[in-house]
Amino acid sequence: MRLHLLALLAKEPAHGYELKQALEQTFGSAYPSPNIGQIYVTLGRLEKDGLVRAVDVEQSNRPNKKVYYLTAKGREVLEIWVDEPTEGPRVRDEFFMKLVLAPLTGIADRMALINRQRRHYLSLMSDLNELLSRTPPTDRVAMLLIEGAMLHLQADLDWLERCQEDLA
């Protein structure tokens, strides 16, 4: 969450609760509802690393609130994050390892593994379908996230078929 908070602070200084609200407004349902405690802990670490700094703002009748802003070093870290390409999905995943190693262990055959995995992917897809139908079209960011997840799953299924043709 470190970099997500840095990105929000690059727009304008904010206190912890404002950051929580900004995450909610920007991502809609695409972001798991952020926990305020976690936001404060993350801000504390960012401050310790010199990426943000806080000023106390006095409030009448209430404890001071801390308003955080981005430091030059923070901006630099953020720019590096934005500029560098993001890793693609991991293809050599748990399932791949099981598939390759399974025949050696004699515990399961590949066809059975592939079939089980196919059912699993399809049930994930069915969850996503249901999710998409429940997501209001105005929640554009969430729609895109779901569609992205669906396309990834389709690719996983196509790849399973390739494995079946080649290995089984």
Binding site: F27, S29, P32, M111, R119, M125, L131, I146, L153, E165
Partner: protein, 242 residues
Amino acid sequence: MNAVAKTVNLVKIYQDGAVPVPAVRGVDLQVEPGEFVAVMGPSGSGKSTLVHMLGGLDTRTSGEIWLDGKRVDTLSESAWALLRRKKIGFVFQFFNLVANMTVGDNVELPALLSGASPKVARRRRESLLAALNLTDRADAAPAQLSGGEQQRVALARALANEPALLLADEPTGNLDSRNTRDVLRLLGDVHKDGQTIVMVTHDARVASLADRVVSLFDGEIVDDGRIVRRRTGTAGEVIDLR
């Protein structure tokens, strides 16, 4: 209640080439009323051959085919034609629309052939075209349509006679994501209303609407099971955002 479709040790060996090709090798499949079965499998695994036999569009080499409790693999071609008109809707992998008829008439004809009144057939035509976002194209000839549009017309036509069994071979093969959404919605709706469906598909979104997935490999069923529906929550919870 009878199974809508059932096969017993169904075999198809194509003998027309130099070497016989075993396309379907002993398939036992039972489809219950209202069930939506997706058929998946690699290219050449026998999916089209299987659904063609279920619809009487290809003859079996051996084994049995039953529709609604009646044995049908022994029927004559004309008896099959009659049965198809009344009970089966078919969407082909390569659509097969009647070229010299308008889109609207392509959709209306099967209902008329199956004995629906002109009024009912017309109403059905209009609701199907609307559901698939094709109302504007009703007077066009199939050749004037894009692949995706023709695919949707083929689906509308297959549903026009309110068939006991909808057989579909890759009905979303030519669709972009928006049109796939229309097709998915329609399929979901007719399935909810009790439509029995056997559908060949590579599209995981389509397959995940099904109650059950049958996987073919080399002409045999290698997996047959229900799709479990489990998780609920927001997108952020269901999809990991690390």
